[in-house]
Symmetry: C2
DNA sequence: GCGATGGCTGACGCGCACGTAAGGTCGCCT
DNA sequence: AGGCGACCTTACGTGCGCGTCAGCCATCGC
């Protein structure tokens, strides 16, 4: 395919994709392990195409909305088959409809959560205006950590 | 407060809440372990008030939108303090603002995912119309399970 | 020649959110 | 008295999504 002139770099290293999408090589290899993505190889090195990149994007999007990797895999498979067995397709469709309903309910949850948080924020804001206006609008790291609560675990960072 | 007449059953057993919200006793005890909820006791038995029930509802909502239990705990704490230490409040507020941004981006992801799934569904639908119109609109269980994919795990159900 | 860099393959470890026995307590029914 | 059903605690097990470490090429620049 002499498309090299039009696509100056139509393939990506594992690092490039990781940088672009903010994930780790380990994660990509993990997805490959699970069959979600299957890059070509140049010798031993993974070579990702635009298609792989698109799949990765869908994977990460799916993750962010709370889909399990196995479910994401099913969705990705759909784009491969096209004329697969009918009962399979019926199952997929039914599952997808379920998923759509779940996602829509999840969106409602998000709206409610945003409302809750926003109300909480404005409550805190009015308090801070009275007590410590210097701390308003500061990012988390600029303020300082605090003591852990009982049963609370520390996370990375 | 002589409200007993208006609230015929102002407390709940662990089972009642579990049935109402579709979770397990183990989960509720786990949340209690983490300090997210603190029901009264009648002897050894847990007795949940309406307030506990409301907290549980927030917990489950938070979970569905991808919050960690520790984060949910922070949010719940907010409703208890009212006049807590200022730096704490500033941290909370900053975290909440972050969370709001994350949730809004998550909502965009959901919209995209719904689009993807809906397009996929209609693709499948048109295929099924040609091949197996009898399978249209069937729920998942009515169709039949299939072989697991490599690396795919079974879940409850 | 040689370290730095980047990628690879196992394989073990971890935090989270519970599941799952195993065994004990309590009130009620027969 | 005996058995049940609902609840309890303690404690170990599990699935997921990676992190991390060890050990091993290949290549690049000096």
């Amino acid at each position: 395919m002499p498309t090299e002139l039009r696509r100056p770099a139509r393939s990506f290293t594992i690092r490039q994709l990781c940088q672009e999408f903010g994930c780790t090589p380990r994660a990509l290899r993990f997805y490959e392990d699970k069959g979600l993505i299957s890059p070509e190889r140049d010798g031993m090195n993974r070579v990702y195409s635009y298609k792989d990149r698109a799949r990765l994007q869908l994977i990460l999007r799916g993750k962010r909305v709370g889909l399990a990797l196995s479910e994401i895999g099913e969705i990705l498979d759909l784009y491969e088959l096209g004329d697969g067995c009918a009962t399979q397709n019926a199952i997929s469709q039914a599952k997808f409809r379920e998923r759509i309903r779940a996602l829509e309910s999840q969106r409602r949850d998000i709206d409610m959560a945003v409302d809750v948080l926003q109300e909480a924020c404005s409550r805190l804001e009015s308090q801070l205006k009275q007590t410590r206006p210097d701390l308003l609008e500061q990012p988390v790291e600029a303020i300082r950590p605090r003591r852990p609560r009982p049963g609370e675990m520390r996370r990375a960072g």
